[in-house]
Amino acid sequence: MPAIVKRTERCPLCGTEFDAEGQGCRPSCPMSAGCKVVCCPSCNYSFPQETGLAGRLRAFLDRRRTHP
């Protein structure tokens, strides 16, 4: 099954905010196991969720932005 983290994502193409749950790769893709690419329900643009190292970097940058 896709490794999608349940949270709100913002589409980098059209700006739509959406719930990532259920927007991951479809099981018909043989590479869907562990895939963290989500599809925007509005424009269908696909992008990987910022989890793992990228998620930690995002959290660090957000913390610095909030408490410089």
Binding site: P12, L13, C14, G15, T16, E17, C25, R26, S28, C29, P30, M31, G34, C35, K36, V37, C39, S42, C43, N44, Y45, S46, F47, P48, Q49, E50, T51, G52, L53, A54, G55, L57, R58, L61, R65
Partner: protein
């Protein structure tokens, strides 16, 4: 809407349209773009006693509550975020339907003061629809801190309605907004369109009955631009003969413009909004910069200026990926890191950890023999480490990393949707409409996902054409990166041959497919965000996320591909394959026999195949000793591999999405076709190059 708790009415929860009119209770509907703080304002107005239910016939949630505003009981409804009263999504349709079917309400439009232009686009539509409303400039504090100075008095005068700066999370401005709701009125701001549109509007308005909360002009506009979601409403309320007149008026108007009416109307409306925006937003240093960004944004989608900007963007990306990524970074990782250090260290580690000589030789080959000359399992000609990991990490990774950085910059700057607009024009010439652009652009990321998104096309014709074109000639991000790396070693004329061959093939096949397959086109509109300077942090995070995704997806397949090669090598299968493919690969394409393996393994991942070719020609590219014949070989190989059958993941997705018959037809067409194009390019280049 749900009535106040102290009112007497019957269970309206499941059916917001069957509202019971309650004496002394008025209705206020909150509307606004997505993520502007509507729900926060709703909470500030109503407190916590709210009901949430799906809008009838949809999965879209609508929140209702009650409030006492200025001493009077009010129904309050929070609607899904919308950018347009002519809906493009289910959410937008729900909001439009609520506004159209409710009676006797007033609206509060919640607008993000930081993005006034986007908010005013919706304001102009509410004004045009004759809805009484007030405008809340929410997040006013953030707008001020970012250098936006909005002349509220002038905006109020221009719109003819109450305009209140608010900070909903701090309840600032909420009392002033509530106090003015009873006196909410229709806006005097009405965008005027060109004469043809105004005449058509007048004609269609006269055919429509007065209906609900939106006036005839707004409904006429929706009908004119071909809003499908309105069809049921029109069929129920307009006699058949007048529907035919309406359709006739729409067709006559549409024939006047090369673009869709939806696009033309949006553009003219936006022009009116821009004039108002520029009049009320003070030009501080920040806003002056944003004005330049807006101009640049306009130029980047202009028919003439857009092309040189597009060429510049592609050139910079090519230099960045092809030179920095493919030359400097690959050279460092491949030689200084992998072959000079990691390979000898791994070999030494294995010899130290495995005491048996036979096992050592199986894993890392005989001592003292260069690894490219033996068949070690880990370190060897087809070793999992020396080939699989070095392909994945030393060659493709630096190239895709620089490509991902370039792509993230395009994404974060807001240029990507503009790129879609420019590409749209090209695809239109192929019989495709704008919606086809997105799968094509997405195909540059991952063809497999893009094949899935071909679902957004309305007709089977469009879905099949898009799937075919994606499978045929849209290279995925990893392959684009390796292609950029390879063409960076070629002279400009050879590069032009490659690009020209692929683009010409795509245009020809798309045009032919559009002619052969029956069906009709459809419209597409994408909201363009403002251009901005990309944020280094955002680019870093986006790039890292893509690299993680790439490593997770590609590396296992690189290892698998290497394992297959290793086994084939041990059973002399590679030589057999090369002999079997020689009539085509050597005879027709005039490529070295080793290219056959690259083509076959390209089915696992296209970039794996491209990386194999890159390795073969890299020493000559570096030394600048590519001969004319090698340049032709490279162009022919690149063209054929780009057009070759899709990777295994994409192929399975095609079978799943389009059905096995169509999938097999697509593959059966692509295989000989790509080889035929490669042969044609080879013959032409050897004659003309």
């Amino acid at each position: 809407m749900t009535p106040p708790s102290d009112a007497t009415c019957q269970a309206p929860r499941a059916s917001p349209l069957d509202k019971q009119v309650v004496a002394s209770a008025r209705s206020v509907i909150l509307v606004g773009n997505p993520n502007v703080g509507k729900s926060v304002l709703f909470g500030a107005l109503t407190g916590k006693y709210v009901t949430v239910s799906n809008y009838p016939g949809t999965t879209v949630e609508v929140t209702r509550g009650t409030a006492t505003l200025d001493g009077e009981p009010w129904h309050v409804m929070d609607t899904p975020g919308t950018n347009n009263l002519t809906p493009m999504s289910e959410d937008e349709q729900v909001t439009r339907d609520i506004l159209m079917k409710e009676r006797g309400y007033v609206c509060v439009q919640v607008c993000d003061a930081k993005n006034l232009r986007r908010g005013l686009l919706l304001t102009s539509q509410l004004a045009e629809a004759g809805v009484p409303f007030a405008l809340a400039l929410n997040m006013a504090d953030e707008a001020r801190s970012r250098g936006f100075h909005i002349d509220v008095a002038q905006l109020k005068e221009a719109l003819g309605i109450e305009v209140v700066p608010t900070v909903a999370v701090e309840r600032k401005g909420v009392a002033q907004l509530s106090a003015g709701l009873g006196a909410a009125r229709r806006s005097t701001f009405t965008p005027r369109y060109d004469d043809a549109i105004e005449a058509a509007l007048a004609e269609v308005e006269s055919l429509l009955p007065p209906k609900g909360g939106l006036n005839r002009r707004a409904v006429a506009m929706m009908a004119l631009v071909g809003d499908d979601s309105l069809r049921e409403h029109l069929a129920a309320n307009v006699p058949e003969a007048e529907l035919a007149r309406l359709e006739d008026a729409r067709r006559r108007l549409a024939a006047r413009y090369p673009e869709s009416l939806r696009f033309v109307v949006s553009r003219q409306r936006l022009a009116a909004v821009d004039r108002l925006h520029d009049a009320v937003v003070t030009r501080s240093r920040v806003s002056a910069a944003s004005t330049f960004a807006r101009k640049l944004g306009g130029w980047s989608t202009d028919r003439l200026l857009g092309l040189p900007i597009l060429a510049l963007v592609l050139f910079v990306a090519y230099e960045f990926v092809g030179v920095l990524g493919a030359k400097t970074a690959v050279d460092f990782l491949e030689n200084a890191v992998f072959y000079d250090r990691l390979v000898p260290w791994t070999e030494a580690l294995v010899r130290w950890a495995v005491p048996w000589k036979a096992a050592q030789e199986f894993l890392v080959g005989p001592a003292g023999v260069p690894f490219r000359e033996h068949a070690g399992f880990i370190i060897g000609k087809y070793g999992l480490f020396s080939m699989g990991l070095s392909y994945g990490i030393a060659i493709v990774l630096p190239i895709v990393t620089t490509f991902f950085i370039a792509f993230s910059i395009l994404e974060d700057s807001g240029y990507l949707p503009r790129l879609a607009v420019m590409v749209n024009r090209i695809f239109k010439s192929m019989g495709l409409n704008g919606k086809a652009v997105l799968p094509m652009v997405l195909g540059l990321g991952c063809d497999t996902m893009a094949t899935m998104t071909a679902r957004i096309m309305e007709t089977r014709k469009e879905r099949v054409i898009v799937t075919l074109l994606l499978a045929l000639g849209v290279p995925c991000s990893a392959q684009v990166a390796v292609i950029l790396a390879m063409v960076s070693g070629l002279p400009a004329t050879a590069t032009a041959w490659f690009v020209g061959s692929v683009v010409a093939t795509l245009l020809l096949v798309g045009w032919l497919a559009a002619k052969v397959l029956p069906g009709r086109g459809s419209d597409f509109i994408l909201e363009l965000p403002p251009l901005r300077v990309p944020q280094a942090g955002n680019v870093a995070v986006k790039t890292l996320a893509r690299i993680e995704w790439y490593l997770r997806e590609a590396l296992p397949l690189f290892i698998l591909g290497t394992l297959i090669l290793y086994v084939l090598d041990r059973v002399h299968g590679i030589a057999m394959l090369e002999r079997a493919a020689a009539p085509v690969v050597v005879g027709l394409l005039q490529l070295p026999k080793e290219a056959a393996v690259a083509f076959i393994l390209g089915f696992l991942r296209r970039d794996y195949a491209a990386a194999g070719l890159f390795m073969q020609y890299e020493p000559f590219m570096k030394a600048g000793t590519l001969t004319r014949s090698m340049e032709i070989e490279l162009v022919v190989a690149l063209t054929t591999i780009t057009l070759f059958i899709p990777c295994i993941a994409n192929f399975f997705m095609i079978l799943k999405e389009r059905g096995w018959k169509t999938g097999v037809w697509i593959a059966a067409f692509i295989l000989p076709f790509s080889l035929a194009v490669g042969t044609g390019v080879n013959l032409l280049m050897r004659w003309l190059y």
